[in-house]
Amino acid sequence: MERPHNSVARTPLNSVIVQRRSKSKNYRQSYRSCLGAASRFSLTPALTARRLNTSRRAPKSHNITEKVNPEHLALLLKMEWKLSYVTPLYQFRHTQLKSYSRQLSAFIAAEKQQGMAVEVEGSHSSFRVSFSVVQGMTETDDDAETVLIQIHSKPLFAGQDEPQRSVWSGWLTCINGNPDYLRSLPKDFICLPLFGSSGPEGLTALVKSWFQQNFDCCFGPLEISHTSLQWLVALWTNCHTESSIQHLKMIWTLPVVPPLQITYTVNPQDAWELWSSVRKDRQEENEGREQVEEGGSIDIEEVMRFMQGLKSHFYRHFRLDLSAGSLKQVSTALGSAKDSGRVKISNSRYMITTLTLLTECALLKMPI
């Protein structure tokens, strides 16, 4: 079942992520070096040549509804999420979520009313924060449990007994994270590299800065690259037989003056047939193994062939070569994704696949 990590071959570097310098009498590499000993060096191919995996398991429909709390699942599917990557959290404990809820709500209260001190243990009427673990949202033992954060507040002019409403939500997750990378981190660090948020920007900024101050981590914007979007096109199309994609809609931009934006919508059945045609030889080739390797895997070559097919079809009709432009947005009934890093997952069955790809993108952004 282990999927090949062909381009990012890293070996564990358990104890040597940061090398110690000691005055003891041996001739050693400086401890602040990122290269050095042979065992450490395996990390560095990533330094210059980190790439997305060139092959991934075909999306399997997950019976995630059985594992995950339906309320949480409904929330995850309801929103469009703005993505960020997060460096590993220092001394984050899944057992402390209650206390984090209190601290974050006190922090928000203090930030909202500058110059007023706020007691952490006290009750704050303005904002109520809740942290919760989304049980069952992991794929491997190395993945840390997903954490969901919700902020509730009462509208400014609400009546006394009006209930608080959810004004912001966000989550931190790691699905199928590169096990070598995850294992290389010391025990004090929890890696939840993918952060999604939905709600007012101001609250997002506050939540981020609270995390930065408390877990010494950094947040950076996570764009979805051209290649990742192409992967999503293929991965979603691949699911068509099990769950209809309804339509395959792509938005391209072409670098001409004035800029040209093209919305390219493909009939789902046509897309599926094109996809099967680029997959065909492989399936025959793998006929014997098919029983063993359920679902098989998808190669970047197939994705590229599929995209090429879509582009040449477009060229035949409009004499416009899309290769000159870039893919900005993809949407199907299973979900939508924009290059700016906004994603909406509409179908729980393929959520894990999508999040796996996004986790990988987030891990690629890690500075070390």
Binding site: R40, A110, E121, I368
Partner: protein, 720 residues
Amino acid sequence: MATKLNLSAPSDSDLSSLADQTASSRSINRSLRVAEKERRKNEAEDPFVLALKYFSDVEAGTPLFGNDEFEKNLVLVERLAYSKGLSPEAISIMLEFAMSLRMGNAPCVRVLKCLIPTTVVPQGAVVRAVVWLGVGKIPINTQILFIKWVLTVFDLIDAKDQLRAVYGFIFSFVTDENLCPFICHLLYLLTRKESVRVFRVRKLLELQSKLGRQPFLLHLLSLYKVFCPELVTLSIPSRMRSGFRNYNSPWKSALIAVQKRNGSQVASSTSLPFTIKDKTNPRKRKHCHLELPVLSSLVNKQAQTELSSSRKVVPLVQLHSLTQLLENMHRIELPAQMGSLLGSSLALQYLDCVQDESALLRLNFWLGYALHEEFLFCGDGGGSQTSEEALQFLDKLLSSQHFLQESFSSSEAFLYKFLSVWDGSLLRPQILSLLSNIPVVPSSQIGRLLFEPLMQLFFTSSLFFKCGLMECLSNMLLKWLTWHSVYALEDDLDISLNSHTSINMTLSGFKDSVMELVHFVGRLASVGLQLEGCHSLLLSFILDFYEAVCDTFLKYGLPLVVMPPPGVFYPALFSLDPVSVDRLAFIMYRYKVNLTSAKTQEKVTEQAFHISRQTFREFNQYLVVMVNCLWNSKMFNPGMGVQLGEELLLKSNVPQYWTSFDLIHHPAFMSYAVDFHQQCWPGRKDMDFNSIKHSKPWSWYLEYLYSQGYDGLKQFVPTP
């Protein structure tokens, strides 16, 4: 009582004078006893001592009006206080007198105003006075005056432990609306981690809701937050960040005057030890990843609460000097965000000796993140790249690295990625300095990580970039060699793989890396000199590099000798400026010394390293060329490195072509030859260089050249 005291004082002195008289009449052991008496008499007669005695003994309820004696004594004390200051005992007596209100409120105020210490204030006196506050008879204004006085002299109080012991008692005055601002300041100065309690936080918050957002409450609360962020949180708006107001101007000036007069250096700093980030950049940046985090303490300490309670930890924010750092070395708590360390040299000092893997990793995550976001991911088209912030950030990083004399692994990792996208001009000095700091790169990776991107940059950039890169690579080599000499000296040179650690680099591995680097620079230099027409500036940077290379064995103990390629040697030898030729001579001289010493060592110790015959052959060939060409006028002799066909040379019509690069005809030295010729034979009209060739003038000519500062030549061919 007052009258009695008044009477007793003169009678005392009368008695002693009487005794004095009798003693002198007896004249036994005269001198000794006289001295003793004298002392006692002076003491007894010292009106100030008497005045103090008056204030310590005066009874409660003594009338104040018309009391000349009181007036006289107080004036005495005041005069002394304003001129020399009061001794610790005097302070104790006067403070006790004032706060006990023995003669009412009016003298109390007067006394407080003149309490200017000479040296220190005894803690006991302050504690007693604080206790008097609780009695509740003192008018509020006087209470305020007293606390203002304590705040002013706070740094002069000889110890604070007893004051801290009554923290709770002092805290109780916080509810008094008038006293509150001053009590908050005093508490601020006294607060320790153990004084921060939930009920105190609640009390202060209750006051806050009553009084509104008051700076004094906020500052005390923000200190509470430093110690116990799990109890209270707040964010201070920028307009409120001024600290406590200065309450103490009347005493302050008097105190400074007294101290100046006494020449004492007891510095009283009532300023806040508050580290508030000053917002210096006027325009708001879209991205703030280059901003250093503020130094603040950890919130989530639950995991190690037991640990922190058993040994009291000190947040790094609380330390302000190296002495404090050293005193608390064993119990320092790292800040919540490690990135904040980069801004403070004190913290860097700590970082340098702490061996905390996680702490370093946290710092590297942050640093790597900031560098990546700013220079690699830059979403907004890189418009902000040349900004002042980026420059300052890199300068700060560089100064930290220089301070630690090491580079951070995240900046190293960043550089490898950045080199492949760098245009060679953006922040060139900073990037090149960062690059020169990177530690030894294993030879298997050095080509891909360093040489490939650098080669592209080198051949496509200007002369100045080429020079900059040469300088950077020289520095890199020097750092590697220094690193080697430091670590190898601790060890014997026979490096067997140390099995318990995987971090070791073998000597041969290190040698390979250095060799790769030297060969790489040799290639760059050869082609670079051709491209730039043997520019003397570039040549000078290249010779800098070889000055390090030629001395690797003797100066850095690395058994490695690599000769420069012909592409560097000949351009230097035929260079148009004499300095380059001289430096080449010096470099060859150092090669000779290194090789000779290696050879002798090889003979002495059996298993010493082996220098290949090829290296000796190269050296000898260069040597022959240099001597033949410069000294012996035997250019183009068969068997030398540079050979030209006889016919071709004749065709060139150069007369005596074999002399054309000797020290007389060499284009770099021709002017010296002319000058020498004129000085030697002032009368001669026509130049005849061949006359310098005769043995006498030749040795004079060499002397003359050496006297012009060409020491390299002199060392290269020692005068017999």
